[in-house]
Amino acid sequence: MSNLAWIFVSTLVVNNFTLVMFLGLCSFFGVTAKIGTAWRLGLANTFVLIITAFSAWVLNTFVLVRTPYLRTIAFIVVIASAVQIVEMAVKKYFPVLFRQLGIYLPLITTNCAILGLALFQTSRHYTLSEGLVFALGAGFGLTLALSLLASIRERMEVADVPVVARRMGLVLVAASCLSLAFMGFAGMGSQ
């Protein structure tokens, strides 16, 4: 049980998917201009991550034991289908959210965090319950990172900064500071 709790905390803060492992940076820089969209996308990602963790476990257990070289292709096809399902569900049940997320909903397919989760889950030989907790931690970690950067960026909008830093430069330095803060957790649990 403590193992599960540790996996959750570890992926949430110590090895935060976005800020420490560098997964899902496209949406990290793409959708963090507004905090409202940022955390909603984070939650949509969490949902896809959980579906992916389950599908990856099914694939690993029943299909890929015989054909390990199909790993990448199988995962990406499953992820693309999962994203498609989520997109249809969101469109039907939450039309407002669907309009807010726009292009970034289908783009979850090429979010490295999703594929990364499936690959790490495989290389660490997680069981089903461990994989699901891993996905939950990763998703909440992603949501946390997105919301944090979005709040910083909303403040930076009104700040008077030099011309050269006005576009993405300053955002990256802010992300660096955030990442540095998360480095404070490094080494936790490795005693």
């Binding site: 997964l23 820089f29 990406i76 999703i114 006005r166 430069g169 990442s179 998360f182």
Partner: protein, 238 residues
Amino acid sequence: MSTTVAPPRTAPVYEPPAPPATPAPDFIPGSPPPAPLWADTWRGISKENPVLVQMLGMCPTMAVTNVMANGIAMGLATTFVLVGSGLFVSLFRKYIAHEVRITSYILIIATFVTLADLLLAASFPEISKALGPFIPLIVANCLLLGRAEAFAAKVGPVRALADGLGMGLGFTLSLSAMSAIRELLGRGSLLGFDVMGPHWEPWVFMVLPPGGFFTLGLLLMTVAWVAELRRRRREAVA
């Protein structure tokens, strides 16, 4: 009595209507003019650099550039996938239905990524181990899908190859620059060779994750600074 001689009337010359301007047919493979080919390649390195200008493919850019050898290996692997998938997307562009194109591109890309993964594991096992899951993660690099959709699916295979090569080289160069800075400051070495001498105190920050964001931020600011200087010079001339 004045007889005015009417000027001989010339029969209006029949001019066949100019053939309607046909939209340039899809590029014919095999006959690309050399200049645009160069432009196709050069664009990826300079004006449309994937990392420094378009900000595509961020994840590998940050994740593997703590050591220069890894950065270069990642760049070359991505170049291989870009060129291969560009060629095949372009070859099959007339047969792929519009509705399933994204899935088809992803499948083509995933095939080449699997190839690159297996090749690297067979020939450079230690680099393959260092890059770990980031080689299969090339599939999720937005740069590949972006180029397939925006360029390779619309031109002939030769131009697609040129573009893939250019984008790949631009990506490799940016990754090399980033990893050179990070390795030099973070370890005092370049490609594993000690450069800064024994008294260099390594900036551990640079090889840690925050250093990746920081280095890219500095590089982007440098690019913006150069652009700003150029703009000012142009205004001063005008």
